[in-house]
C-alpha cells in the first residue's frame, strides 16, 4: 500500500524527479525492513505449524519446505487424548484470572489516576518491580502454602497465582489509559450527580473500553502461555495446555512432529483470538496517542 501511495498522480505532478526517487526508495526500504522483521518473528511459529504436518522422520531430516503433508501426528496426539480437558482448564484459568485481575485493578487504577497522592508513582514502580523478581525465587514458599491450604492442582490455585502474576501489568496499563481520560468529563459527571460507582460505570468504563479490552487480552495471553507455575503447581486435574505440551517432550523423548502438532493445537485458540481482536488491540495500545 505504501508503495502504491508513493506513485500517486499528485506526487508525480508536484515532485521533482530526484526527490520522488529518494522518497520511493525510502518507502521501499521501510517496507522491506518491515516484512523482514515480521518474517523473523513469525518464522518459528510457521516452522512449528509445518513440522506438525510432517512425519516423524521428515521432521528430523534436513529442514525442508517441500514434503508430503500428513495428519499422522495429529492423529497420534488425538489418540493420546486429553486435549479438550487441558484446553478447558486453560480457558477457565486464563479468563478467570483475567476477570479477577480486572476486578481488582480497575478500582486500584482509578484511585491512582484520579486521586493520586505523593506516593502513587512510587507504588506503581514498586508493583512493577515485583515482576523483575524471578518466579522461581518464591516457588518453594508458594508451593508449600498451596499444599497446606489444598490449592495444589486446582484451577482456583492457578487463577489466584495468575491474577497475582498479571496484576502489576494490568494495573499499570489501566492506569495509563485512565490517565489519558480527560478529567473534566468525570467532573462534569460529578456535577450531574453521579456517584463514584456511576462515574465508573457510565463514563470511565465505556470511554476506556478499548484500553480495558486490550489489557484484558494481554492478561489472557500471558496466562494462556504461562508454563512455569502450571508445570509446578498442577499435575493432572487442573493442568492447562502448557502442561499438555510439556507432556510430549519428557516421557517420549523428542518427537518433534507430535510436539509441534500439540503445540499448534495449544496456541491455535489464542492465535485466532488475537487475530480477531487485532484492531481492538492496536487501538488500545495507541489510545493515548490518537484520542
Amino acid at each position: 500500500m505504501s508503495l502504491l501511495r508513493s506513485t500517486t498522480p499528485a506526487q508525480n505532478a508536484s515532485g521533482v524527479g530526484t526527490a520522488r526517487g529518494s522518497a520511493g526508495m525510502k518507502t521501499l526500504v521501510i517496507t522491506l525492513v518491515g516484512w523482514s522483521v515480521a518474517l523473523v518473528i513469525f518464522f518459528p511459529i510457521l516452522w512449528m505449524i509445518l513440522t506438525g504436518f510432517k512425519t516423524e522422520s521428515a521432521a528430523i531430516a534436513d529442514p525442508s519446505f517441500i514434503f508430503t503433508p500428513t495428519l499422522e501426528s495429529y492423529e497420534a496426539v488425538q489418540a493420546r487424548s486429553g486435549y479438550a480437558r487441558f484446553a478447558l482448564n486453560s480457558v477457565a484459568v486464563a479468563f478467570g484470572s483475567t476477570f479477577l485481575a480486572l476486578l481488582i485493578a480497575i478500582p486500584s487504577a482509578y484511585a491512582m489516576a484520579f486521586l493520586p497522592t505523593k506516593r502513587t508513582k512510587g507504588t506503581l514502580l514498586w508493583m512493577l518491580s515485583t515482576k523483575m523478581l524471578p518466579p522461581v525465587g518464591v516457588l518453594v514458599p508458594i508451593y508449600l502454602i498451596f499444599r497446606d491450604v489444598g490449592l495444589l492442582d486446582t484451577r482456583t490455585g492457578l487463577i489466584i497465582i495468575y491474577t497475582l502474576m498479571n496484576l502489576p501489568i494490568v494495573v499499570w496499563m489501566l492506569y495509563t489509559f485512565f490517565k489519558d481520560m480527560p478529567k473534566d468529563i468525570l467532573e462534569a459527571g460529578r456535577m450531574d450527580g453521579a456517584s463514584t460507582l456511576q462515574e465508573v460505570f457510565f463514563l470511565l468504563l465505556p470511554l476506556t473500553l478499548p484500553g480495558i479490552a486490550s489489557t484484558g487480552l494481554l492478561s489472557v495471553i500471558l496466562s494462556w502461555n504461562e508454563a512455569f507455575w502450571s508445570l509446578n503447581l498442577t499435575s493432572s486435574k487442573a493442568a492447562p495446555l502448557t502442561a499438555y505440551i510439556a507432556s510430549f517432550s519428557s516421557p517420549e523423548g523428542l518427537f518433534w512432529a507430535k510436539l509441534s502438532a500439540a503445540s499448534t493445537m495449544a496456541i491455535a485458540p489464542i492465535l485466532i483470538l488475537g487475530w480477531m481482536t487485532q484492531k481492538q488491540m492496536v487501538r488500545g495500545l495507541t489510545f493515548g496517542a490518537v484520542k
Binding site: 467532573e187 462534569a188 456535577m191 450527580g193 453521579a194 457510565f202 470511554l207
Partner: protein, 392 residues
C-alpha cells in the same frame, strides 16, 4: 433565588497558597465575572464554589446555607467547562439528559425536558448526534444545555468561549446575555477576555495572585480603578503610566509635575490616602507618584503638556493608534481615524485632568473627588424603561 457568599476562602496546594483569603458577595440574578491574568486562581475559586475542590479554609454559603461539606451535585449549581467536557459516547440528548437519568427521572419526562431546553438553544435538529459530529459552537451550546436542564440556581462558566473563533465568540456572548435575561439565574463567569468581562458583567471581580483586587461594575472599574493593577488590567489598549513629581496638595486636588516640565492638578483626594495609610506617612514624604491616563483620554493638542515622537502608527480606519516615544516611555494614544501624522513626526498632546488617575508608591489609587456619572451604571440600566417593562 440564589445568593452566594464567600467568607475568607483560602486554598493551598501542598505548600503553595493559590487562594489567599477571598470574601465575596454575589446577589440574586447577578452576572458576576471573575477576571485576572493566567494562573491567578480564577478556575480554582470557581471549582471551590462548585465543590470539585475543597477549600483549605473559609465558608461557602449559598442561600444562607453553609455548603462546604455538601457534594457538587447537591449545591444547586451547574458548571460549563472550558473544554465542554461532553460525554463523547452519548448523543446530544443523552448528554443533556444524563443528570435526570442518574436521578431516575422517567424517560418521557426526560425527553420532554431535553426538548424544551433544546428549543431555547436551537439544538432540536442535533439531538441524535454524538459530540464529535458537532461544531465548536454547537458543542458549546450542548454544554450550556446540559447545565440548563438541571435547573440550577447558580450557573458557573469557566472560560466557556475561549475555544471558539472570534465571530462565534461575539455571537455566543450575546446569546449568553440573552439566556441570563431569560433564565433569571445567578451566573458566575470566568474569563481573561476583558471585552467579555466589560460587556456581560453586572459585577466584575478582578483577581490577582489569589486575592481580590477590586469588585465593582464595569464602569466603576474603568473610571475608578482602586489600584494600579486594576487600572492596567481593565481597558484596552492598556493605560499609560508616567512617573510624576508631587508639587502640592490642596482641597482641589494634587498638583504634580509631568515629564517634560508641565504641571497639572489632578482632582483627587490626597487626604483619604494619608488616613488610610498604615504608616500614616503624609503624601509629601512618599517617594513617588504615578499618573495614569488611558490612551483614549489623551488628546492631540498644540498646547498640550506632553510631547514625543511618533514611533509606530496603526490606522484601523475609524481610529488610529499612535505609539509615541517619550524618553524611556512608549505612550499609546488613541485618536481619530483621519489624523494626517506620519512616523517620526513630533507631536504635542494633553489630557483633561479629571480623566487622569494618581497612584501612590504602593499602587493604591488616590480616590477621585467626583464620581464619574456612569460609574454606578449596571448592565440593566442600559435598557430603556420601556424595555424593562416589556421584560417584566
Amino acid at each position: 433565588m440564589a445568593t452566594l457568599q464567600l467568607n475568607n476562602i483560602t486554598k493551598h496546594f501542598g505548600d503553595t497558597a493559590v487562594i489567599k483569603g477571598i470574601d465575596l458577595e454575589v446577589n440574586d440574578r447577578e452576572f458576576v465575572v471573575f477576571v485576572g491574568p493566567s494562573g491567578c486562581g480564577k478556575s480554582t475559586l470557581m471549582r471551590i464554589i462548585a465543590g470539585l475542590e475543597s477549600a483549605t479554609d473559609g465558608d461557602i454559603v449559598i442561600d444562607g446555607q453553609r455548603m462546604n461539606d455538601v457534594g457538587p451535585a447537591d449545591r444547586g449549581l451547574a458548571m460549563v467547562f472550558q473544554s465542554y467536557a461532553l460525554y463523547p459516547h452519548m448523543t446530544v440528548e443523552g448528554n443533556m439528559g444524563f443528570s435526570m437519568r442518574l436521578a431516575g427521572v422517567p424517560k418521557e419526562e426526560r425527553r420532554a425536558k431535553v426538548l424544551e431546553t433544546a428549543k431555547i438553544l436551537q439544538l432540536e435538529p442535533l439531538l441524535d448526534r454524538k459530540p464529535k459530529a458537532l461544531s465548536g459552537g454547537q458543542r458549546q451550546r450542548v454544554a450550556i444545555g446540559r447545565a440548563i436542564v438541571r435547573n440550577p440556581s447558580i450557573f458557573l462558566f469557566d472560560e466557556p468561549l475561549s475555544n471558539l473563533d472570534a465571530a462565534l465568540r461575539v455571537q455566543m456572548r450575546i446569546e449568553l446575555a440573552r439566556l441570563h435575561e431569560k433564565l433569571n439565574a445567578t451566573m458566575i463567569y470566568v474569563t481573561h477576555d476583558q471585552i467579555e468581562a466589560m460587556t456581560m458583567a453586572d459585577k466584575i471581580v478582578v483577581l490577582h495572585d489569589g486575592v481580590v483586587e477590586q469588585v465593582g461594575s464595569p464602569m466603576a472599574l474603568y473610571h475608578h480603578p482602586a489600584n494600579r493593577f486594576v487600572a492596567g488590567f481593565i481597558g484596552s489598549p492598556k493605560m499609560n503610566f508616567f512617573d510624576v513629581e508631587l508639587i502640592s496638595t490642596s482641597p482641589e486636588g494634587v498638583q504634580v509635575r509631568l515629564p517634560g516640565g508641565g504641571e497639572c492638578t489632578v482632582p483627587v483626594n490626597a487626604q483619604a490616602l494619608e488616613n488610610a495609610s498604615s504608616e500614616n506617612t503624609p503624601i509629601e514624604s512618599q517617594p513617588a507618584l504615578e499618573l495614569g491616563i488611558r490612551p483614549e483620554h489623551l488628546v492631540l493638542d498644540e498646547a498640550g503638556a506632553l510631547s514625543g515622537q511618533i514611533e509606530v502608527l496603526e490606522r484601523l480606519g475609524g481610529q488610529t493608534s499612535l505609539y509615541v516615544r517619550m524618553g524611556d516611555l512608549l505612550v499609546t494614544l488613541m485618536t481619530d481615524g483621519d489624523v494626517a501624522y506620519r512616523v517620526h513626526e513630533t507631536i504635542r498632546f494633553g489630557f483633561a485632568p479629571e480623566r487622569a488617575h494618581l497612584f501612590a508608591a504602593d499602587g493604591r489609587a488616590l480616590p477621585s473627588l467626583a464620581q464619574h456619572p456612569l460609574a454606578g451604571l449596571t448592565r440593566h440600566d442600559n435598557r430603556t424603561s420601556g424595555d424593562a417593562e416589556a421584560l417584566a
